[in-house]
């Protein structure tokens, strides 16, 4: 008999039991319920203009937020890794703030800050709360760290001699960045973008404070699930949940395949 390492039975028991009860059982309940829902439920759901609008808005707002984060997150990661400046550690720690701050608190303060009497809102020529801009703002805030955190380790491990080699071969700085550095950052950029998008699609807490929750205008898909639950429309809620779950699982599958293809950039919550 092959000798087992110590604690095999105990750790296996806890892991399998924990994963089954806490993760797989709830998912099974959702899948079971969805399986029993009539095809008509899904068709009716997708035929409902309010649902369609909410889903499309959720996807669109999450996409814009992820793009926003791609841009600023890349800048932050680059500056944090490449340009030493006093207070860099503090700035680095600060990047995690959106993960540390409860989403409700984030929504609350963003609504006030960008509201008509807020420090920023009063300077703006347009309203940034209780409309679609507010939703994008909240989604960008809560998913900001993903791009920074997936890019940072890759940038840190990029060998410096590669850029020096390109320079010695006569490449301008711009050509070096575009043709040598960027291709190597691409997998990390994509995975940060995808994680950011997946998080933004599912976000609820911060949005309810800043969106005004207006049907056909600022209503997002997770909010609609809550609305349906409050109306005891379980089938509708389940169908909508399955659609959302499918989207985020597909995105994460994409990330997973990306990592398999290009080897491990780090994973982050």
């Amino acid at each position: 008999m092959k000798p087992r390492r110590p604690g095999f039975a105990l750790s296996a028991g806890i892991t399998l039991l924990g994963a089954s009860l806490m993760i797989l059982l709830p998912l099974a309940a959702l899948a079971f319920k969805a399986g029993h829902a009539k095809v008509g439920t899904f068709a009716a759901l997708l035929g409902d203009p309010r649902v369609r609008t909410a889903c499309l808005f959720s996807l669109g707002a999450a996409l814009i937020a992820a793009l926003f984060n791609l841009l600023w997150g890349s800048l932050l990661a680059w500056v944090l890794v490449r340009y030493p400046f006093p207070g860099r550690r503090l700035a680095d720690a600060l990047v995690d703030l959106p993960f540390a701050l409860p989403t409700a608190v984030a929504g609350l303060t963003l609504a006030s800050l960008y509201g008509p009497t807020g420090w920023i809102g009063r300077l703006l020529p347009f309203s940034a709360v209780y409309n679609q801009a507010g939703v994008v703002l909240a989604l960008s805030f809560v998913s900001l760290p993903f791009v920074v955190r997936s890019l940072q380790p890759v940038l840190e491990e990029l060998p410096r001699d590669m850029e020096e080699a390109a320079a010695c071969l006569g490449a301008s700085r711009w050509a070096t960045l575009r043709r040598v550095v960027l291709p190597q950052l691409l997998p990390a950029l994509l995975s940060g973008f995808a994680l950011s998008f997946a998080r933004a699609v599912g976000e609820y807490g911060s949005v309810v404070f800043i969106s005004g929750n207006l049907p056909f205008r600022t209503e997002i898909a997770p909010l609609l699930i809550v609305v349906k639950l409050e109306q005891y429309d379980y089938d509708g809620a389940v169908a909508l949940a399955v659609i959302m779950l499918t989207v985020s699982l597909l995105v994460l599958l994409g990330v997973h395949l990306l990592h398999r293809r290009f080897g491990g950039a780090s994973r982050h919550a």
Partner: protein, 330 residues
């Protein structure tokens, strides 16, 4: 002169990396910068390439001061210890990179680039590897690609930073000979940084030995070996026995310049502590009766004549001694 280096100094964090270094590198020559790690040789090479800036002094390439030029305008080929190949590009794309990024007016046509890459692939004997990625190559192959990439732009100077340092001993030896042949064909002024004295002696026309931020001696390999200028050079290039203090300093002798005898009176009494009779030379470690140890190399014939073994009592004396003033630790 192809490269003239005048009074280069560089300090970093209170430490002197280069201390008023001057050196002339002749056109078409192959010079090895030899020294232990931390002696400043890599920094010197990086300054020539423009990757680092000196605090004082200047570098002139073909008579033209180069301090104002950025690395990308210097036309130097630089080969890094860890290859620095672009991992997402094929071998062909790597080699063509320097040509591809030239401004449109100077860029050769597509066909010309392809022809040049073909030629270089032949030169590095990797004709059929053009479409591989660097990750699919061995260390020695990667370094050959790096060399071809550096040569593709026809640099005025080729700089090699410990190019074989990351390779196995056997591959090192092969690439060393290959590099020498390549240089004989291409005649590009070349500077090779290495800490391996065998490598420097075998490949270079001229060796510059560096120690503690300064150049201690410059000359042909043979001169360096036979007539070391300082105790450091003597000890770093080949083995050296430190013998005894004399009025002018310390006396040294090479292991193969020691004579062994069984007759008392033919030198100092010693005992054979260790005997390794492999290779062309037998290597003996002798424990002197007066204390201390010396290394002696004998031909196999001489060893057979003497008929000694470990534990034998022998008498040893140097055939030639060299005396150096400072007593550097070797």
């Amino acid at each position: 002169m192809s490269i003239e280096i005048r009074n280069l100094s560089k300090r970093l964090g209170g430490k002197t990396i280069l201390d008023r270094v001057s050196l002339d590198i002749p056109e078409g020559g192959l010079l090895a910068l030899l020294g232990p790690s931390g002696s400043g040789k890599t920094t010197l090479l990086r300054i020539i390439a423009g990757l680092e800036t000196p605090d004082e002094g200047e570098v002139r390439v073909h008579g033209e001061a180069s301090h104002a030029r950025r690395p990308q305008d210097r036309q130097v080929g630089f080969v890094f210890q860890h290859y620095a190949l672009f991992p997402h590009m094929s071998v062909r794309q790597n080699i063509a990179f320097g040509l591809d990024v030239k401004p449109r007016a100077q860029r050769p046509s597509r066909e010309a680039i392809r022809a040049r890459v073909d030629e270089l692939l032949q030169l590095i004997q990797m004709g059929s590897y053009g479409h591989r990625l660097p990750a699919e190559l061995s260390g020695g192959q990667r370094q050959r690609v790096a060399l071809a990439r550096a040569l593709a732009v026809e640099p005025r100077v080729l700089l090699l930073d410990e190019p074989f340092g990351a390779l196995d001993a056997q591959v090192r030896a092969e690439l060393r000979h290959w590099l020498r042949r390549l240089h004989d064909v291409s005649k590009v002024t070349t500077v090779l940084v290495t800490h391996d004295q065998e490598e420097a002696m075998e490949v270079a026309d001229t060796v510059a030995v560096m120690n503690r931020a300064r150049i201690e001696q410059v000359g042909p390999p043979r001169d360096i070996y036979d007539h070391p200028a300082t105790a450091f050079v003597a000890g770093f290039v080949g083995q050296m026995n430190r013998l005894h203090q004399v009025a002018e300093g310390t006396a040294f002798a090479r292991p193969h310049e020691m004579e062994l005898s069984l007759d008392p009176g033919e030198g100092q009494a010693a005992q054979v502590a260790r005997l390794a009779p492999t290779g062309a030379l037998a290597r003996l470690r002798l424990r002197l009766a007066s204390g201390g140890e010396v290394e002696v190399h004998l031909t196999r014939d001489r060893l057979a004549d003497l008929q000694i073994a470990e534990g034998s009592q022998v008498y040893v004396r140097p055939a030639r001694v060299q005396v150096f003033p400072e007593d550097y630790s070797i």
